[in-house]
C-alpha cells in the first residue's frame, strides 16, 4: 500500500447522530436491543403518568387472574397479581423505579469510582496508596449489612437503595479505571500531548478518559444488569425496596410463592429483567465497536451493504 493512495474512499460527512443511526441499523441484534430499551425507557418516563392508578388498584376478589385473557382489558393481558392488580400495567410502571435504581446506582458508582480511579492512577503520592485500600475495604464490607444499615437508619426508598447499590459497585470502576490509567499514561500519544504542553487535566479528560470510557461503559452495561438482579435479591431477602413502591425485582420476589400455581406473577417481571439485561449486553458489544474509530468501519460498511 503506498503512501499516496488513501486506504478507503472518503466518507461523506454525516452528523454524529445520523452516523450512529446507520451503524445501529447495521447490527440487527443491537437494533432490536435498542428498540426494546427505548420502549423500556419510554415506559419509565410516561408509564407512571398514565398507569400509576391502574397499577396500584387492588381487587382482592380478582387476584392471580391468568394471562392472555383480554376480557378484563389490555392491562390484564399478562394476568393479574396477588392483589388483583394488572401485571402489564405494573411492569410498565415499575420500569421507572427499576431504571432509576439501576441507572442511578451504576451512574453514581461509575462517576465516583472512575474519579477515584483517575486520581489514584495519575497520582504518584499518597493517594495512589490509599485509594486502592478504600476499594479493598468496600469490597469486603458486606453489602447486606450495608443494606440493613441504610434500611434501619434511613428508609428503604428508591434513593437509599441507589446509595447501597452504588457503594457496593464503586470498587469495580475504581480498580478498572486505575489499572487502565496506569497503562494509558505510558502511551505515546499521552507523551505527545505532554510535549505540546497539555495540562494534566487536559491529558486526563481529553486523552485518557476517552480511551478508557468504552471499557467503563462496557462494564456499566453489564453492571446495569447485575444491579437489577442485586436489587431483586435484596427484595428476596426482605431488605430491598418496599411496597407500595414497585420494581421488577420486587415483583419477581413477591411472585415467588406463587410459582407453582400462578407462574405469571414472577415470570413476566423476570422476563423483563432478562430481556433488558440481554439487550444491554448486545448493545454494549455494539457500542464497543461503534465508539472505537478503528473498529467503526465494520458497522459503517455493514450499514451500507444492508441499507
Amino acid at each position: 500500500m503506498t503512501d499516496e493512495s488513501p486506504p478507503i474512499a472518503p466518507i461523506a460527512e454525516k452528523s454524529r447522530l445520523a452516523s450512529f443511526w446507520s451503524m445501529l441499523r447495521a447490527d440487527k441484534f443491537a437494533l432490536t436491543a435498542a428498540i426494546f430499551l427505548v420502549i423500556v425507557i419510554a415506559s419509565a418516563f410516561i408509564g407512571p403518568i398514565f398507569l400509576e392508578y391502574d397499577a396500584g388498584r387492588q381487587n382482592l376478589r380478582g387476584r392471580n387472574a391468568p394471562p392472555f385473557d383480554m376480557e378484563r382489558g389490555w392491562q390484564f393481558f399478562l394476568g393479574g397479581d396477588q392483589l388483583g392488580r394488572p401485571l402489564l400495567a405494573r411492569i410498565i410502571v415499575a420500569a421507572r423505579n427499576t431504571m432509576m435504581v439501576a441507572a442511578g446506582s451504576v451512574a453514581a458508582a461509575m462517576i465516583i469510582g472512575a474519579t477515584l480511579g483517575l486520581i489514584a492512577g495519575n497520582s504518584r503520592g499518597r493517594a495512589a496508596q490509599i485509594i486502592p485500600r478504600i476499594a479493598d475495604v468496600i469490597m469486603s464490607f458486606p453489602s447486606l449489612l450495608l443494606a440493613v444499615i441504610v434500611l434501619y437508619t434511613l428508609e428503604p426508598s428508591v434513593g437509599n437503595i441507589i446509595i447501597v447499590l452504588a457503594i457496593t459497585r464503586i470498587p469495580i470502576y475504581l480498580r478498572t479505571t486505575r489499572a487502565e490509567i496506569l497503562e494509558v499514561r505510558e502511551r505515546m500519544f499521552v507523551q505527545a500531548a505532554k510535549v505540546m504542553g497539555a495540562s494534566q487535566s487536559r491529558i486526563v479528560f481529553r486523552h485518557m478518559l476517552p480511551v478508557i470510557l468504552p471499557t467503563l461503559l462496557t462494564i456499566a452495561t453489564l453492571d446495569f444488569a447485575f444491579v437489577m438482579l442485586a436489587e431483586s435479591s435484596l427484595s428476596f431477602l426482605g431488605i430491598g425496596i418496599q411496597p407500595p413502591e414497585i420494581t421488577w425485582g420486587l415483583m419477581v420476589s413477591q411472585g415467588r410463592p406463587y410459582l407453582t400455581n400462578a407462574w405469571w406473577l414472577s415470570f413476566w417481571p423476570g422476563l423483563a429483567i432478562i430481556l433488558t439485561t440481554l439487550s444491554l449486553n448486545l448493545l454494549s458489544n455494539w457500542m464497543r465497536t461503534a465508539l472505537d474509530p478503528q473498529q467503526r468501519w465494520r458497522l459503517e460498511i455493514g450499514g451500507k451493504k444492508n441499507g
Binding site: 485500600r133 479493598d136 475495604v137 469490597m139 469486603s140 464490607f141 458486606p142 447486606l144 449489612l145 440493613v148 444499615i149 434501619y152 437508619t153 444488569a225 438482579l229 431483586s232 435479591s233 428476596f236 431477602l237 425485582g249 419477581v252 420476589s253 415467588r256 410459582l259 407453582t260 414472577s266 423476570g270 429483567i273 432478562i274 439485561t277 440481554l278 449486553n281
Partner: protein, 304 residues
C-alpha cells in the same frame, strides 16, 4: 517473595482494621440486639439486665476497646444468640461455604475454559453463538427464581433430586448448579475473549509452522497465555461465593456463611458478623495469594 508476602499481609491487615472499625460502629447504628432477643413483652428491667450481661450498656468506644483487646488474643467474642464462641459458629459455617465455593469454581473453571476455548476457536460459529447466548440468558435471571424453578422441576415434578440439605452428593447438585450459572457466563466470556487474542497471536503462528496440531495449540500454547485475565475473574467470582451465597444457601438450607451472615445481621449478633467478615477476609486474602502464585506459575515473566 518474602518481602512481597510481608507487604501484602501488611496492606491486608490495614484494610482489615479499617473494615473492623467501619463494621463495628456502623452495625451499632442498626439498633439494640436486646429488643430483638427478648420477647416484646419482656419488662424494662429484664432488658436492662440483658444489656448489662452482654456489656451493651457500656459506652460504644469502651465496647470497641474491649473487643480489640480480646481480638489481640484471638478471642472473637461470643454469639449472643447462640451463646457460643463466635469463631466456632463461623468456622462451622465456613467449612460448608468453602466446600461449595471450591467445588463450584472448579466445575465453572473447567467447563468455562473448555467451552470458551472451543467457542474462540471458531468465532461466530454455531457453537460460539449458542454458548454465548445461553450463558447470557442464564446470567440474567434472578438466582432465587432459578433455584425455586429447579426445585419444583427436579425435585417435586421429576423426583430426581432431593429438594435441599447437604446429606449426599445429590443434595449438592442443585445448589452448585444454581451458583454455577452466573460465574460461568462471565468466565466464559473472558475465556473466549482472551483465547481469541491468544489464538491470533504470533507464537501460535510459530507453533503452526512447527507442525503442532490444533488441540495442543488451543490447550497448550494458547490457553496458558489466555489464563491470566481468566484467573483474575475466577478469583473475583470465588471471592463472591466465599463472601456468602446468601440466596442459594437460604433456599437450599445450606448452612454456610451467607446464611449465617444475613441471620446474624438481622439478629444484630455483632460478634458473629465481625467474625464472619474476618474469616472470609482471611480466606480471600489466602485465595488472592494463591492467585498471585498461579500468575507466577503460569507466566514466568511475573516474579515477586
Amino acid at each position: 517473595m518474602r518481602s512481597f508476602l510481608t507487604k501484602r499481609a501488611y496492606a491486608s491487615l490495614i484494610s482489615l482494621l479499617f473494615l473492623i472499625v467501619a463494621v463495628f460502629f456502623l452495625s451499632r447504628l442498626t439498633g439494640d440486639p436486646t429488643n430483638l432477643y427478648l420477647p416484646v413483652d419482656a419488662s424494662l428491667d429484664s432488658r436492662e439486665r440483658f444489656r448489662a450481661l452482654h456489656g451493651l450498656d457500656d459506652p460504644l468506644i469502651l465496647q470497641f476497646g474491649r473487643y480489640l483487646a480480646d481480638l489481640a488474643v484471638l478471642d472473637f467474642g461470643d454469639s449472643i444468640r447462640r451463646s457460643q464462641p463466635a469463631l466456632d459458629v463461623v468456622l462451622e459455617a465456613f467449612k460448608w461455604t468453602l466446600a461449595l465455593a471450591a467445588i463450584t469454581m472448579t466445575i465453572v473453571t473447567i467447563t468455562a475454559i473448555v467451552i470458551g476455548s472451543l467457542a474462540a476457536f471458531r468465532v461466530g460459529g454455531l457453537f460460539d453463538r449458542t454458548a454465548t447466548f445461553f450463558s447470557l440468558i442464564g446470567a440474567s435471571a434472578p438466582d432465587f427464581w432459578i433455584a425455586i424453578v429447579a426445585i419444583v422441576l427436579f425435585s417435586v415434578n421429576l423426583g430426581w433430586l432431593p429438594t435441599s440439605g447437604t446429606g449426599t452428593v445429590w443434595h449438592w447438585i442443585m445448589p452448585i448448579g444454581v451458583l454455577f450459572i452466573r460465574p460461568f457466563g462471565l468466565i466464559l466470556q473472558v475465556v473466549r475473549g482472551a483465547m481469541i487474542t491468544a489464538l491470533g497471536s504470533a507464537y501460535v503462528k510459530t507453533a503452526r509452522a512447527k507442525g503442532v496440531a490444533s488441540r495442543p495449540i488451543i490447550f497448550v500454547h494458547a490457553l496458558r497465555n489466555a489464563m491470566l485475565p481468566v484467573i483474575t475473574v475466577i478469583g473475583d467470582q470465588a471471592a463472591a461465593i466465599l463472601n456468602g451465597a446468601v440466596v442459594v444457601e437460604t433456599i437450599f438450607g445450606f448452612p454456610g456463611v451467607g446464611k449465617l451472615m444475613i441471620d446474624s445481621i438481622l439478629q444484630r449478633d455483632f460478634a458473629v458478623v465481625l467474625a464472619t467478615i474476618m474469616v472470609t477476609a482471611f480466606a480471600i486474602f489466602v485465595m488472592n495469594l494463591l492467585i498471585d502464585l498461579a500468575y507466577a506459575v503460569l507466566d514466568p515473566r511475573i516474579r515477586y
